[in-house]
């Protein structure tokens, strides 16, 4: 696994940040509605990632909000007011795993390439491109780790960097999923096989 150990992701987060996960309709304009809401209400976004979720037609957004600019309760409630937002979960108080991916293009030459590769090794970063005077490192992990690697690369010259922003998931069975009701036919099949019916799923959504 990447990362510095299993406890790494759940180390105490800065008190000033909230992590909110929103399940949204996969429709044009949704990102704009969310971004516009945050701008208008003066909530500062530290990072926002969005992509497909486990359910067709729904996307999952992970939003890290500067807690000083926004009471998390207001963020949640205002998000809920958007018709295209189906579910909002505040993960700030949860025991969670948070990860970010970064690509860092660092200047290097024949003399110092070796050092850089060693640094990458310590941080368990992957080298995904090498050229005669640069290389690209890819690293996955919690923010601190990525910041640490960047700091180590700085003396060599960071030419370009791209970070995804944080994604997060609660540990254990808790999910931020929306459970659509099971079609009766499917439910029947599950029941005939002695499986639990919807609503009793071990993966609770609240």
């Amino acid at each position: 696994m990447t990362g510095l150990g299993p406890s790494n992701g759940s180390r105490p987060r800065s008190r000033r940040q909230h992590i909110v996960v929103a399940i949204v309709e996969d429709k044009p304009g949704v990102l704009m509605r969310v971004a516009s809401l945050f701008r208008r209400r003066g909530f500062n976004i530290e990072s926002l990632t969005v992509g497909h979720s486990e359910a067709p037609g729904l996307s999952r957004m992970t939003i890290v909000v500067d807690g000083e600019s926004a009471p998390v309760e207001q963020v949640e409630k205002q998000l809920y007011k958007l018709i295209d937002v189906v579910k909002v979960s505040d993960l700030s108080q949860e025991d969670l795993i948070a990860r970010e991916l970064a690509m860092i293009k660092v200047r290097c030459n024949n003399l110092n390439r070796h050092e850089l590769l060693e640094i990458a090794n310590v941080f368990r970063a992957d080298v995904i491109d090498i050229a005669s005077n640069s290389l690209i490192l890819q690293v996955v992990g919690y923010e601190d780790k990525i910041n640490g690697l960047i700091k180590m690369c700085e003396p060599y010259g960071v030419r370009e960097m791209s970070r995804t922003g944080r994604m997060a998931m609660a540990r254990g069975t808790k999910t931020t999923t929306v459970h659509e009701a099971e079609p009766p036919k499917i439910a029947q099949i599950h029941a005939s096989q002695g499986r639990r019916v919807e609503g009793e799923l071990p993966f609770s959504s609240d």
């Binding site: 949204v24 309709e25 044009p28 304009g29 704009m32 509605r33 516009s36 809401l37 208008r40 009471p71 309760e73 207001q74 409630k77 205002q78 809920y80 007011k81 958007l82 018709i83 295209d84 937002v85 189906v86 579910k87 929306v178 659509e180």
Partner: protein
Amino acid sequence: MTRMTGAQMLLDSLQREGVDTIFGYPGGVVLPLYDTLPEFPGLHHILVRHEQAAAHMADGYARASGRMGVCLGTSGPGATNLVTGICTSWMDSTPVLAITGNVARTLLGKDGFQEADITGITQPITKHNYLVMNSREIPLTVREAKHIATTGRPGPVLIDIPKDVFQEQDRFEWPEQVSLRGYKPTLEGHAGMIRRAAELINQAKRPIIISGHGIIWGDAQKELVELAEKANIPVITTFLGISGFPELHPLSYGFLGMHGMYYANMAADEADLVVAIGMRFDDRAMGRFNAFNPGVKIVHIDIDPAEIGKNFPTAVPIVGDAKHVLPKLTEHVHEREHKEWIRWIDHVREEHPSLEIRESRRMLPQYVVRTLYEETSGNATIVTGVGQHQMWAGQHYFYNRPRQLISSGGLGTMGFELPAAIGAQVALPGQEVWAICGDAGFQMTLQEMAVLVDQRLPVKIAIFNNGYLGMVRQWQQLFYDKNFVSVAVTQPDFVKLAEAYGIKALRAETKSDVQSVIQEARDFPGPVLIDFQIDQEENVWPMVPAGAALSETIEAPAEEVAR
């Protein structure tokens, strides 16, 4: 399945949703729609003179009837002209459907002639909006839009339709139901919270109810009266809440806020428990937030969870619809007298009556409103503009029937008065509708007088002519050291102007004219404009200066009373 064009689908869907009137204005991209209108005689199209007015008319129609109002504009400037009206309805949570045309799909995003990104522009001022890219999506979109606009906390919804979508033929399928997984308003209210709220009410020594616009939109006047009467709780309203609780009821103590009644502000500040229902703790109502009644506990009942805790911490939050929540709350509330508390408020009211109109030979605006109240036996629907006349209309007419006062509270849109009154009159045929207008605000939308003539609508227009942007003049006098800048307005001859439109017009120059012109206007079956040449320098009192606390409410200074 029938095949239809997008235009036919739109009009058919509107009709199925119970729409009978569209306030609109044509232009290039909506021509296919106008071409189709004659096929739908059940849809009455009212041609306005400016799209802003169309949005205000739809809003006035909605506020007067409780039903969704519909306005329509072409792409580009037609759409952007609607924006002020849409925002007015957004701020006051009224159900308005705005329909705009847009350039053909292939031209979207190419900055072609009269393209405006109206869904982008209206995103922060609509409850939801749509850009419809296929004609077959029109029926479901209209159903959803109506559902969103009229349920939960109401609000405006916009549907933008490219020109070629109006022309595109497809199968018309009427959806059996709407189901939006991201939109499910809570109506019932949490039983445990309702019981906790009742406990707080039962323990309170000085409880007060502050009721807002939500009582009117929740159709909960009766339920509110029952709660107040059972526990003998005095009721004050917000400005938009006026008429939600009958003002002639013995437990009514007027409205609070910047120009609220002195005793209402003091009661709000002295209470040990505020039961806030369907209101949003606006700064104009509450004064400086951190100076409002420090020890007070708040029970907040609102259908919009985001309003709860937004401006003030709440002891007991109840998310729900007033009509559902109040009866349950009343059930758990004990009968009480609150004699001492009510006596205290009554005493403040005797010492600071706020609504007493002083003897004067001048034509005081308060006197004009009061005379109108008496002449109409308190039964007219009053629509106002924004400014001093708005506050006097709120103060000196007494409203008992919900929806009787129609005014732009949240956005404070000058020019709202005439078009909103037209919309109200369309919704209330045969009923008496008065537009109380500022002389300046009237000039922002006066062109709509033409609609009164076109549609034979008997709206009575009362212009409170003080020759000033009165409310601004008042602020310059009080807070800018009488440095009067750009507040005196030159005016046309309003009587001649009305006559030029073919509208009967009267002028009241002295106090003694007031009663007789009102009578003459009421006797006349058609629209009438009255130019009331009111005292020019009268100010609105009481007043909570911007940034002050409700406890710092100022009353009319002696030198003004002596004028």
